[in-house]
Structures are given as structure tokens and as C-alpha cells.
């Protein structure tokens, strides 16, 4: 608890950082060319959400590998918390994407390659949570879920980065780092986007820490009720 003032400080810093990103998205970044109305501003929230969900799923995979190696229940809880949060971010990215698609493409949904990828990712990590609910024994649950998450570690980069880029036809705007590995974006927009992405990533790890502690407390209480 000696770190308390410092840990409080970075939370306030994160608050200011994300406020800056929001302000930057609306007042500092210019509008993108050829986008209807102000619709391009959703970029500064949609892309960081998708990015945070990717970081979350990647983290879940890494924690699962660590669990399979060390067999500490805490790593299993960390992986579970990361999947839960990753799903929240992925749902938010899907919804913001659909809103933007309604404005730009006049359809909420049209199975663009990226929409396809995110749906597979949602189905996969949704299945992870179903699997968690399906195994009683905590050790077996942790082990089986960890293996499933490691399979996700193999599949997720393919879904997020390979499949959308190799599709022959997509209406989705070019990713920031595209197939030609070139950054094609106004520098102000890029500044806001990176600020926002960083903010979302740190925000994820903060909430993840909270969720992980909550899961640990729930496990302890369950153990306590068993012995009592």
C-alpha cells in the first residue's frame, strides 16, 4: 500500500489523457476527406476499441500460456478477466462500426471482411465463456479454458490482421498500417488516434486489474463457504 499516492496519480493522469483524446477527436483533428458529415470522428473511438479488444485477447492468450506453464489460479483468473473485457470492447467496436456503416454505407451490416472477422472473434470468445460455465472442477476448467484461449492466440491475429487485408474487396477504410505498410493519415488525426489508443489500452489494464481482484475475492469466498 506504500504505492498508493502514485497509483492514484496515474489514474488521474489517465483521466486527463482520455479527456484530451476526446477533446482532440472533436476539436483538434480535422475531418477526413470523402466522409459524410462528421462521421470520420468515430475513428478515434472505434479503432481504439477494436485495438483494446485485440490487446485483451492477446493478453488472455499470454496469461493462458503462463497458466499452463505455472498452474497458478491467479493467471487463469487474469485470462478470464481479459476475455470478458475483450468481449466488451469488441461489442463496442462492432456497434460503433455498425453506426458508422449506417451513415457511410447506408446499411448497419453488409458482411464486410472486417465485420466477418469481428463476428468470428465474438463467437470464439463467447464460446470461451460458455466453456468456463460448462466445467465444474476449477482445475479442469482453468486447464481446458487455457488451451482454448491458446487456440485463440493462434486464430486471433489471423482474424484481426491477415483476413481483412487479404480480402479482394472491402469497403472498410484502409487500416492505419495497410497492406503497403504505409501510414496514410493526416498527422493531427494520427496524433489523436495514437493518444486515444494508448488511453484505451491503459484503461483496459486498469479495469482488468479490478476485475481480476474481484474474481480472486469471489474464489476466496467460495473456498471459505466450502470449509465453513
Amino acid at each position: 500500500m506504500a504505492l498508493k499516492p502514485l497509483s492514484l496519480a496515474w489514474r488521474w493522469a489517465l483521466w486527463v489523457w482520455i479527456a484530451l483524446a476526446i477533446a482532440g477527436a472533436f476539436f483538434y483533428a480535422p475531418l477526413a476527406k470523402d466522409f459524410i458529415g462528421q462521421s470520420s470522428r468515430i475513428l478515434f473511438f472505434h479503432v481504439p476499441m477494436a485495438w483494446a479488444s485485440f490487446v485483451a485477447f492477446l493478453a488472455a492468450g499470454v496469461w493462458s500460456v503462463v497458466y499452463l506453464w505455472k498452474r497458478q489460479p491467479d493467471h487463469d483468473r487474469a485470462a478470464a478477466a481479459a476475455v470478458e473485457l475483450g468481449l466488451v470492447f469488441a461489442v463496442l467496436a462492432t456497434l460503433t462500426g455498425a453506426m458508422w456503416a449506417k451513415v457511410m454505407w447506408h446499411a448497419w451490416w453488409n458482411w464486410d471482411p472486417r465485420q466477418m472477422s469481428i463476428v468470428i472473434a465474438l463467437a470464439f470468445y463467447g464460446a470461451y465463456l460458455v466453456l468456463r460455465g460448462g466445467v465444474e472442477d476449477p482445475e479442469a476448467r482453468a486447464r481446458l479454458c487455457a488451451v482454448y484461449a491458446v487456440i485463440g492466440l493462434v486464430v486471433a491475429p489471423y482474424l484481426y490482421f491477415v483476413m481483412p487485408r487479404q480480402a479482394e474487396f472491402s469497403l472498410h477504410p484502409q487500416p492505419v498500417v495497410n497492406a503497403a505498410a504505409k501510414v496514410e493519415m493526416n498527422s493531427r488525426m494520427l496524433q489523436v488516434l495514437i493518444t486515444s489508443s494508448l488511453g484505451f489500452t491503459v484503461f483496459f489494464f486498469w479495469v482488468h486489474g479490478l476485475r481480476r481482484r474481484l474474481l480472486r475475492l469471489a474464489d476466496r469466498r467460495a473456498e471459505g463457504s466450502v470449509t465453513a
Binding site: 499452463l68 466445467v135 479442469a140 486447464r143 488451451v147 491458446v150 486464430v155
Partner: protein
């Protein structure tokens, strides 16, 4: 643990065959023999009941009849045939696989033979044997179903090699992923319902690739790198399966 013990003993004692210049080392030959034994055991059990084979076949044929009656040879306009028919073929194969393949492990758990199998063979050899069994089962179904489908739907096949490649690589990928996921699902509650939920997100990229290659075989366009991606998917799943299956299998 105890499954590794005989292999370790053998590895510790330098075998005479290695000194004699045998091509495969003793543990490798032992591993192959174990995998072959699991494969043979599964087929023997299968041929006694023919449960999985009948499930897969009847499921595939019933679905084929449904599709055929609903669409008929002329039910799909010629411009849409290339888009619709390859996709339907793989949907049939996917559902047949989902109905029959999870049994490979559910059966072991239900009859309480899983523990004996854990003692008898190395985990990766069990995985290899089960994959070989599932793949051969799927190939048998494909062998009967696909000619029937092509005939009933009056589907011309200008590129037969592509079709065979799609069926072999797609069937092998289905078997690999299903074996790993069936092993996971067999240890959970609600095994039958859980398997498709776990498997479909992982099988989807494979199916999309197999559908595209099949579309190419019946006269449509194939994108670049479909064959490479299909082979890569199979290779990835094989490596992931061999590495992860022991963790699933040994409690």
C-alpha cells in the same frame, strides 16, 4: 505420467537398433505403433457398432435430400449455382462432421475407457491416432456423398484436382480441429451442445477457404493464396493439436 514411463526407459537405454543404423529411433517407432494402435482400435470399435459411420452418412444423405428437394437440379438459377452449391456442400459436410466426430472422445468418457487409454499410450500418439481415424471417417463419407451431390445437383467439375485438394485438405483440417475440440468438450457438461459452439468459430476460416477452392473446382474464380492458406491452416492446427492435446488429455 505413467504413460511416459516405458518410453523414458526405452530412451534411457540406447537401443541396439540405433547402433545397427535403423532409420527411425526406437521412441519414434514406438510412438508410431501407439498411434496406429489407437487408429486400429477406433476402427475396430467402429466396425462393430458402425454408429459413427451410420450417423455421419445418414446425416449427410438426409441433408443432401433436403437440399436436393428444395433446390433440385434447376432450383438455382445458373448464375447463382457457383455461389450457392459449393457452400451447401460444405455446410452438409460440416454438420455431418459435427454430428459424428465428437463421439471419438465422448465415447471414451461414457464407457470409462479414457483412463485405460491414458495409461496405454502417449498423449500425442492418441491425438495422431484419433485424427487419422476422424479423417478417414470423413474421407469415407466424402467418397460417398460428393459424387452423389455432384450427380444430383448436375454440377460440372472442370478442375477435378482442385476439388480433391479441397476435400482432402478441408476434411483433414476438419478432423484436426474437431479432435482437439472434442477432447475439450468431452470433459465438460453438455458435451453434445458444447462442441459446435467451441468448434464453429475455429472451423469458419477453414470452411470459407474450402468453399472458395471448391467454387474454383466447379468453374468459379479462386483468389490468390487459397491453397496456401488452406495448407497453412492444416499445418497450424496439426502443430497446435500436437502441442495442446497432452494438456487437455492429462488431468
Amino acid at each position: 505420467m505413467s504413460a511416459d514411463a516405458p518410453a523414458r526407459v526405452e530412451a534411457a537405454a540406447p537401443s541396439a537398433s540405433a547402433a545397427a543404423g535403423a532409420p527411425a529411433s526406437a521412441p519414434a517407432r514406438r510412438w508410431l505403433a501407439e498411434a496406429a494402435a489407437v487408429f486400429a482400435k477406433d476402427w475396430l470399435a467402429e466396425l462393430r457398432s458402425r454408429h459413427a459411420l451410420h450417423t455421419l452418412l445418414l446425416f449427410a444423405v438426409t441433408t443432401l435430400i433436403t437440399v436436393s428437394v428444395a433446390l433440385g437440379p434447376l432450383g438455382v438459377s445458373s448464375s447463382e449455382r457457383l455461389a450457392v452449391l459449393p457452400a451447401l456442400l460444405w455446410v452438409i459436410l460440416l454438420f455431418a462432421a459435427a454430428a459424428g466426430l465428437p463421439r471419438a472422445f465422448v465415447h471414451e468418457e461414457e464407457t470409462h475407457t479414457a483412463t485405460a487409454l491414458r495409461l496405454a499410450a502417449t498423449p500425442s500418439a492418441v491425438f495422431a491416432g484419433k485424427v487419422a481415424y476422424s479423417a478417414s471417417l470423413l474421407f469415407a463419407v466424402e467418397l460417398l456423398l460428393v459424387p452423389l451431390y455432384v450427380a444430383v445437383m448436375q454440377l460440372p467439375v472442370p478442375a477435378l484436382a482442385d476439388l480433391l485438394l479441397a476435400l482432402v485438405a478441408g476434411g483433414f483440417g476438419l478432423a484436426l480441429a474437431s479432435t482437439l475440440l472434442a477432447a475439450i468438450a468431452a470433459q465438460a457438461q453438455g458435451r453434445a451442445a458444447l462442441f459446435p459452439i467451441l468448434a464453429f468459430p475455429i472451423l469458419l476460416p477453414l470452411l470459407l477457404l474450402a468453399i472458395e477452392l471448391t467454387r474454383g473446382a466447379v468453374g468459379g474464380a479462386v483468389g490468390d493464396g487459397v491453397v496456401a492458406n488452406l495448407v497453412l491452416y492444416d499445418a497450424t492446427m496439426a502443430v497446435a493439436g500436437l502441442m495442446l492435446f497432452p494438456l487437455v488429455w492429462n488431468p
